[in-house]
Amino acid sequence: MKKFINNPEDVVEEMLEGMAAAHSDELRRLPGWNVLVRKDAPLPGKVGLVSGGGSGHEPAHAGYIGENMLDAAVAGEVFTSPAPDQIFEAIKAVDSGSGVLLIVKNFSGDVMNFDMAAEMAAAEGIETAQVVVKDDIAVERKEDRRGTAGTVLVHKIVGTALEEGLNLQEAVELAHHVTSRLGSMGISLSPSTVPASGKPGFTLADDEMELGTGIHGEPGMERKKIQPADAVAEELLDNVTAELDVKNGDDVIVLVNGQGSTPLMELYIVYRKAAQLLFERNISIHKSMVGEYMSSLEMAGCSLTLLKLDDTLKKYVT
């Protein structure tokens, strides 16, 4: 394990200190908590937007704090969901009295910890609602689907809408509307190593790739011989479009996400083929995002996310 760290147990604390120092014009840390908050939160009259999860997915989630996005992000240990008291602090810090929406990636730990935080908030009279993102279509059963890079689009769209004054109930409906039209699939070439364990999360042969991995390297649908980028792009795209029933005449947002050590060059090569295929199929790309939006430490791989737009959603795409 070759990493720029000090003590493996301190990585999250030190990262948060670094983030708070680097971006003090935009966010602040809640003293003693692993919570970063938009500097001007709570905004009077605005529903608060909170997300979070295990660390190691940077820039998620603290990188999405700001106007038209999150009011707070809660950071757990690396790949481990944050505890309820941390989340509760975030809720208190951003609640203006209009309630707080929690965006949660669908992992048992995250869901349970956010549930408990919501109960704590309720006990103190703060209204919250929770929307669970399940965009990873590699998992068959819909209720078991993991939350992955598509979560960023929920942050952005709901965040933009909240800035325009939606109330909590409307925000929940919008968030559900987004998640119902959102799908992602990942593909990995090599694992990442959690500092505390010091060992790679999985192993793949030199000529193998794994289709459908989650953002912590959870198993996918299939291991196979490594394919050219064009075939990879086509397989990801076909799976996601089939799942979302994206067809001729539709409008989409395309997000090609890097998992950590895959160069931007390769992400653009994957994007290129996806864009070509969409064009051929007369599906128009409303907006493109190519980069590391939801990383997995230094995992090599990428994922492709589509959001199928309609007029409601287009209003909030900036």
């Binding site: 790949f79 481990t80 505890a83 008291d85 349970m112 910890n113 364990s197 999360g201």
Partner: protein
């Protein structure tokens, strides 16, 4: 027999020792069908809970276990944090104000704990989780004298049986059929927890 405040304290301290000693092993189990952090999560949580116990001047079991629950909730993280935390919290409710528990009272707490895990985890036993140790252990205690019993053998046997189950909940469920032939990490840590209870009781007897 009576479970005194002292036994309960020793339970936590012994459990912590076991979590520290099995930290790497628990994480290895989790590496195979999860994300490899279970040992680290449990070790972090119990260490903090026990530090708390040592400083704790509370004189009743309910408060002791509630304090432990709150620490577990805030320090373990992941899926096991809310589950162990909820279990202890629900039990502590039953033990409120008591400085010693009859077997019956103890069992009531355990029943509440198991209920808590099921509700929090939206799970039933048979799904290759910690419940597959908690549920049989609870049933066993419901029918045996806890002092004279072989609690830790029961816990161990239940833990071992998770090896043949297919995971239905949590990260291990992504492994589907592949999860079979691996022991569930949460079942293992629960076995350690009940082994610690048996040892804490043993010491008391001696």
């Amino acid at each position: 027999m009576e479970l005194t405040l002292n036994v309960m304290k020793r339970w936590l301290v012994t459990a912590d020792e076991k979590m520290q000693n099995h930290k790497e092993y628990l994480s290895e189990l989790d590496q195979a069908i999860g994300d490899g952090d279970h040992g680290h999560n449990m070790a972090r949580g119990f260490q903090a809970a026990v530090e708390n116990v040592k400083e704790n001047t509370e004189e009743d079991i309910g408060s002791l276990i509630k304090a432990a629950a709150m620490t577990l909730i805030s320090k373990v993280g992941g899926a096991s944090g809310p589950l162990y935390g909820t279990a202890f919290l629900k039990a502590s409710d039953e033990w409120k104000g008591k400085d010693s528990l009859s077997q019956d009272e103890f069992t009531k707490g355990l029943e509440a704990a198991v209920e808590g895990i099921k509700t929090r985890g939206k799970a039933e036993s048979g799904g290759k989780t910690m419940l597959d140790v908690w549920t049989p252990v609870l049933e066993y205690i419901q029918h045996h004298d806890i002092a004279a019993s072989d609690l830790s053998a029961k816990a161990k046997e239940s833990m071992q049986q998770t090896e043949n189950m297919k995971a239905e909940k949590g990260r291990a469920s992504y492994y589907g059929e592949e999860s079979i032939s691996h022991t569930d990490p949460g079942a293992y840590s629960s076995y350690l927890l009940f082994e610690a209870l048996a040892e804490a009781l043993d010491k008391e007897e001696a």
